[in-house]
Structures are given as C-alpha cells and as structure tokens.
Amino acid sequence: MNSTEQATERQSAIRRLLDHDITYSFFRSKVTVIAGIVTLIYFIATLFAPIIAPYDPFDLSTVDLLDSQIPPAWMANGDPRFVLGTDDQGRDLFSAILYGSRVSISVGFVSVAFAATLGIFLGLVSGYFGGRIDAVIMRIAEVQLTFPAILIALLIDGVARGVFGELDREQYAFWILAFAIGLSFWVQYARTVRASTLVEKNKEYVQAARVIGIPSLVIMVRHVLPNVLGPVLVIATINLALAIVLEATLSFLGVGVPATQPSLGTLIRIGNNFLFSGEWWIAIFPGLVLAVLVLAVNLLGDWLRDALNPKLR
C-alpha cells in the first residue's frame, strides 16, 4: 500500500467515525454535547489545577488567617482576590475547589480502574469456565451484593484504621479509599461480563476457534474479551459518577481523605459547620461543583448506554 492510499484510507476511517451511529447520536442530543464539554472542562481544569488556581491551598505561607470566611467577591464585604470567598482558615475557596476536584476525580478513576480490572477478570473466568469456579465467584458476588457499597467501603476503612493506625492511615488514605470504593463495585462488572461471556461463549465464532484448536485462554482474551467490553464501558462511566459520589460521601463522613489533602467532600464537611452562622458558601460551592460534575458524567453514561443498546437504535 503506498502513502496516498494510506492517506485516503485514514481519511475514510475518520469519515466513517464521524458518520457512525454513535457519533451521530452524540451530536444529535444537545444535552449530551453540553455534558461532554463540561466533563472535558473538569478534566482539563483539574489536570492543570496548579497552573489555573490563583493560590496553592496547601502552601501555608500564602494563607492568612485574617482572610478567613470572606464571602464571594460579588457580595458585600467580598474581596476581589477571592472569587468564591475563603474558608475558615483563610484559604481561597476557588483554588481549594480546583485541588479538591483533582483528588475526587483521581480517586474516582483509580477505583473504577481497580473495580473494572478485578470484575472483568473474575467475570470472564466465571462465565467461560463455569462449574465450580463460577459457583464460588458468583456466590461471593451475591453475598457482597446484599451489602450496599457505602457499607462495604466504611467497613474496609474501619478495618484499615485498626490495621494501620491513625498516622499511617493518613499516609495511605488515598489508596485505601480507592481500594475500598473499587472493592465495593467489582460485582457489577463481574456479573455483567459473566452474562455477556455466557452469551458469547455459545456463539459460533467461539466454537469455530475451538474447532481450529485454539486454547481456552487465548480464546478468552482474543475473542471473548473484545466482544464483552461494550456494556463494561457503560458501567464504568456510570460507576465513575458513583465512585466520585461515594468518595465525597466518605470524606464528608470524615473517613475519607484527610483534611490535609481535602477533596470536595472534605470541603463540604468543613463548610457544613458554618452553615448556620451564615457562611453558606463554604459548603454550597464545593457541593454545586460536585453535583455538576456527577450530573455531567451521568448524562454521558446515559447516552452511552442508549447508543450502545442495539435494541434502541
């Protein structure tokens, strides 16, 4: 194939992508497009938080206690230096929110990646081999499913406190949290992947591969896995939203990331104490930022689920 042919090939591939039903359904719905843009802004803003944020909320030298509890800039007594006001320790709320989103989104991604990897692996093994392995994995999943995610995450956190002790825990808090959230979500992936694997396994292309003589492990990875990933993508998107909420909830309850490295949930927890004394912005702004992020990701998940569902096309 010469280079011009390759170029036209690439061009037609791009054209195919743009003309694809999924792309079409994305651009057809304004809400989805807005959600996509909002999500993108969040990711960029949190990625470049150190550049965008006017202050470093962790740098104690820039924080002045005299600046504490200043209302947002547009209100009476507002200070143009602090657009969204300051918290009880005089930190710029806007900067704190940027850094907080960074923590929230990171925990979300790490825990979803962990849950998806574990869930896909167990689901594939369970669905493809069946029998006793399947029975054991699915029984564990069933037991876990009777417990809501939040309870499991809380228990894991409690156990971690007992095992590590308070100081060590703060150090590992991020990873413990991601692990706890991830572990409480794997069941959904495993069950979905298992169900799709059971369907795919009986399709004739898998049997054709077996007739050729290809070993089970290769069939699982090369043939079955790519064909069960569609629903996983939908769950992962919706789970990202759930994980962010769960992280915020745990931090709000005081068992998440430590106050030295505040996430959005931690900020709301701090702000909650000042709700009655009139400094509402400390809790409400991080809360709104969190809600918009979760809403945007949920909207994307909704769109993806409908777009990938062949029955709705």
């Binding site: 004739e204 049997q207 007739v211 003589g213």
Partner: protein, 582 residues
C-alpha cells in the same frame, strides 16, 4: 367482491441518510375464504404490508401513499381508537414466534376471555364457553383443563394453535399470518398449515399469508404475489405464477428452490439480490498451498468411522442421583464416511444431529463409543500435539453467519488465525498471499480482507466462514445447517460453491440439515436421526425412492409438494440487475 383492497400502497421509513421506502406501488386484494400468499426474500418488504394493513407499523414508518379498504371502507387513515376497534375484531394477526407471542404471566383463559369480551358483548360464562370451544376447534385436547393453564405449559406447536385461536376469537374477516410456521419443525408445520387452511375455508376468512417459503405457498395459497425490493413484481393464480413464471426475478427464484424430487448438478443462480462471486484468479490446485489435502494418500478404510457413540446431558441436577434427569442426545450411533463422499444427517430439531458434529470436532466428549479418523482412534489419543494434528484436518461450517465470525476482527485476521496458529506457512508474506488466494477462491476477492464482518451480507459471511474452514487445509468438512439462515437464492450460491470446492479439493463432507430437498442435491448417502437414534442409513436415491424406516417415510410424506413449480427454468436466462423495471 373482495374484503380487503390495497391500492397503490407505499410505506416509508424516514432515516437521516434519506428515507427508506419499504414497499411501493403495491396493489393487492383478497376475497373471503381465499388465501393470498406474499412471497419474497428478506428485505423484500412483505411484512411491512401486513403491518400497514393492521395499522401497527413501527414508528417512524408510515403509509406515505395509497389506500387500504376493508369491505369498501377506507381504513389506512383511521385514528387510533377506530383502528383499535378493527384490530382483532375485523382483522386478526398471527405472528412468527409462538414462544414469545403469549403473555407468560397470564393464563390462556385470561387472554382469550379478555379479547372476546372486549370485542363481543358476551357474559363471563359465555366468553369462557367460547374460549373452550375455540381451543377445541384449533385442535387442543382437553380444552376444559388446558384453558386454565399458562403458556409455558404448552409446546411450541400447541402455542401456535393458541395464537391462532386468539387471532380468530372475535371472528375477524381478514387474518394476516406473518411467517406463521417458520419457527416450527416440519411435522408440526404441516399440521398448523392444514389447520389454518381449513379454518380459513370453513369460516370464509380472507387470509394473507406472508412467507419466504415457496413450498408453503405452493401448498396453501390460491393467489400469490412475488415481492422484490418493495414491489410486487408478479401477481396471479398460484399455479400460473409458480408453474410458468414470467418475470425474470420469479423465474430465477423458482429455479433456485431445491426440489425433493429431482437431483440437479448445480443450481441455476439468481443474480438479483447479490451477485454470485466467482474466483477472479485461477490457481493450480495440484501445486498450490490449498491443494495439500488432495495429495493425501488414499486410505484403505473409511475416513471417519463412528462406533456405538453415545452422549447424554443432564437436564436436572440434584444431590440425589435418583432425582437427576438425563437426555440421551445420541445413543449407539454408528456410521462410516468414505473418503471423498458427502454423508448427510437429517432430522428435526433435538434429534441429535448437531451433537454428532460437535462430538466429531471435539466440542463435546462422547460418554461411550469410539471415533476413528483416518484410521486413528480419536477418543484414545492423549498427546496434545497428536490431537491437534488430527483436528486440523477436520473443520466445520456453522449455521448462523451472523454469530460465526468475530465482529471485532478484520476478515483477513479471521482467515489467517488458523494458519498462524497451526504454523502452516513459512512466513508472513506467504500467509498474506494464502489468505488473499482463499478469499478470492470463495468468490469474495482479496480486497475483502481489509473489512470487518458487519460490512458483509449473510451469504458473503458464509463464504468467509468457508474460507476460514479451508485455511487449515482440511480433508474433512462438517457443514452444520450451512444455509438454513440464508435466502433461497443465496443458498443456491453457497451450495454450488461447496460442491465446486469438494470437487477441486477432494473434500469429504458431513452435511447436516433438516431440509430433505437440499440433502438430495448434496449427499451421496443419508442417515436419518430421531431423538438421538440413527434410524436408517441409505444411498440418497434409495432413501428417497424406497424408505424403509417408518420415520423416514413420515418425514418424506411431510415434504411440501413442489410439483407446481416450473421444472425447467432456463439457467442461461440471467438478466442483470439493470434490466429490472424500476
């Protein structure tokens, strides 16, 4: 005086890439007690007409031109409420799949009585009595007891009888039956068709019978309309249309229908729906990579030999052995397949014919008996390399062209996978060349390799499956219902291709099908299976002329009568697509 008149009907489905006109300029009419058959291949727009008549076109589809009259009154422009009054009461409908047509959570009685009472003002007692009568009329034994049961307590054929009772319960004047027997086994199909015919005659109901099956049309319809690309290309008395077709499409379609009573060497090919690909490059099989199988030494005995094969599946598990239930999918099955012949296995669904294929290819392990392949005892082999070497020599072509290819792989990788896995070539360049030759040889052309399976039609996918099966250079090919998911014209092409390949490569074949007419064209010898038991094995012609086993006789008697169909379609009469009137 016709009950139903369809005038100039056009149905359109709007789509972002331009509107899709599913049917156009359709003019049809039916009289009381008459059966009008609408026949055509998939996508011809035949179901659309039925849905348009009963006002249940799937959104956004709609009637974009023309009129429909019921008893002289126009009905295509009625509002929802008026239309609902007609549905069930004056126009009934029977769907394809009896297993999904009934609400699983309500009793048969509930569904019947509800429909009866909505349309006819009858008391609860009268409605119940009528429900029982109807079940009796559609041939359900013990209707008094059965009426109180749930759908899952009925078999497929019985459920279709219930569906018919439901469609007829308010005495409609017109009944639309959309592929009513396609999901059923041959023996049950014959019974249901007989029932529909007699009900239609006795009650003077006008029936529109939509089907892809020429056999069903030949035995049922008074008039027939042949559809192609949304248009009725030929319409008339059934004997006339099937016996001396005029339109070139009808001609080639009828020519492609396999006959149970004549054996042809090659099928005449329909060039309308899809061009039958032919290899564009001639390769010398005697020296080419592909021809390796033909250079095998001649064997003394049969290539494949099954001795007392048995397998059973557990249908209910329990910790108590006495409560476990087993199904014998194969019991004491023994037969030989000689080198170079095509051996056929025929039977209804659940007869165990596919299980045999799976046993031979190693997808199942037999519980009893031995399988010999090329003189080696397959069941006794333990060394993995030995097993692989033998398995390589047998390949399989599956039924469903849509699930037999991995949708996430390019065609060239699908075909190359067995070559790479077994290391059949010396280097990558050779692999690429072999894949290109294979794709060319099955009539797809080497360029097809760059595409993904979803870019191909069912028939083309089946060609890819064949290319993949040939890629291990097998001596033995198992075809498990290779054409039952395909339209009849595509079926003819694929069967021709299989015959060509067998001649060229000296393949031995096991051909599995439920369709006796196809079997007669393809096989040298045929085995008849029923409930896991091999009833009879005979030469094809002997089997058709003097069947010995009663079950074989029964199967043969159930074959649709194709005598109506024109015999000598001139296979040179191939009109290219352009010549069709548009």
């Amino acid at each position: 005086m016709s009950v139903l008149d369809i005038k100039n009907l056009e149905v359109t489905f709007p789509h972002r890439r331009g509107d899709f006109v599913a049917s156009k300029e359709v003019n049809l009419s039916v009289e009381p007690g008459e059966i009008l058959g609408i026949v055509g291949e998939s996508g011809a727009g035949k179901s659309t007409i039925g849905n348009a008549v009963i006002g249940l076109l799937e959104a956004p589809g709609h009637v974009s031109a023309g009129e429909i009259f019921l008893d002289g009154n126009r009905i295509d422009n009625l509002d929802g409420k008026m239309m609902r009054r007609l549905r069930g009461r004056r126009i009934g409908m029977i769907f394809q799949d009896p297993l999904t047509s009934l609400d699983p959570l309500q009793t048969i009685e509930f569904q019947l009585v509800e429909t009866i009472q909505y349309h006819l003002s009858l008391s609860a007692d009268e409605a119940h009595k009528r429900a029982v009568d109807l079940l009796d009329q559609v041939g359900i034994p013990d209707p008094e007891i059965r009426v109180g049961q749930y759908p899952h307590q009925f078999s497929g054929g019985m459920r279709q009888r219930v569906v018919i009772a439901l469609a007829l319960c308010a005495e409609p004047e017109v009944v639309i039956a959309d592929e009513p027997t396609t999901a059923l086994d041959v023996s049950i199909q014959a019974q249901i068709l007989e029932l529909m015919k007699s009900l239609c005659r006795d009650r003077q109901v006008a029936m529109i019978l939509i089907t892809h099956d020429m056999g069903v049309i030949a035995n049922m319809a008074d008039h027939v309309a042949v559809m192609y690309h949304g248009r009725v290309v030929e319409h008339g008395v059934t004997e006339q249309v099937l016996g001396s077709p005029e339109h070139p499409y009808t001609k080639s379609l009828i020519g492609a229908v396999p006959r149970p009573n004549i054996k042809v060497n090659r099928f005449p090919v329909v060039n309308y729906i899809e061009k039958a690909g032919v290899p564009t490059k001639n390769i010398d099989i005697a020296t080419h990579w592909l021809g390796e199988a033909i250079r095998h030494d001649k064997l003394d005995g049969p290539l494949l030999s099954l001795k007392d094969i048995g397998i059973r599946f557990q249908t209910r598990s329990s910790i108590f052995p006495s409560r476990r239930l087993w199904l014998d999918a194969a019991k004491n099955v023994s037969f030989d397949i000689e080198q170079g012949e095509t051996f056929g296995l025929v039977g209804e669904s659940g007869s165990g014919k596919s299980t045999i294929a799976r046993l031979i290819t190693g997808l199942h392990d037999p519980a009893a008996g031995t399988i010999y392949f090329a003189g080696e005892n397959l069941t006794a082999l333990t060394k993995k390399a030995d097993i692989l070497a033998l398995r390589r020599q047998m390949q399989m072509i599956f039924q469903d062209p849509f699930s037999s290819l991995n949708a996430r792989m390019r065609v060239k990788d699908i075909v190359a996978e067995p070559i790479r896995f077994h290391g059949l070539t010396d280097n990558k360049t050779e692999t690429r060349q072999v894949v290109a030759d294979l794709l060319d040889h099955v009539g797809l052309g080497a360029k097809a390799g760059e595409k993904y399976p979803h870019e191909f039609s069912g028939g083309q996918r089946q060609r890819i499956s064949i290319a993949r099966a040939l890629a291990t250079r097998p001596r033995f090919l198992i075809c498990d219902e290779p054409t039952s998911a395909l339209d009849v014209s595509i079926q003819a092409q694929i069967l021709n291709l299989l015959k060509d390949l067998q001649d060229e490569l000296g393949l031995t074949m096991l051909f599995i099908s439920h369709d006796l007419a196809v079997m007669r064209q393809m096989c040298n010898r045929i085995g008849v299976m029923r409930q896991g038991v091999l009833c009879e094995v005979a030469d094809t012609e002997t089997l058709f002329k003097t069947p010995e086993h009663t079950y074989t006789q029964q199967l043969l008697s159930l074959m649709p009568n194709m005598d109506l169909l024109a015999r000598d379609i001139d296979s040179t009469d191939r009109h290219p697509l352009e010549n069709l009137p548009n």
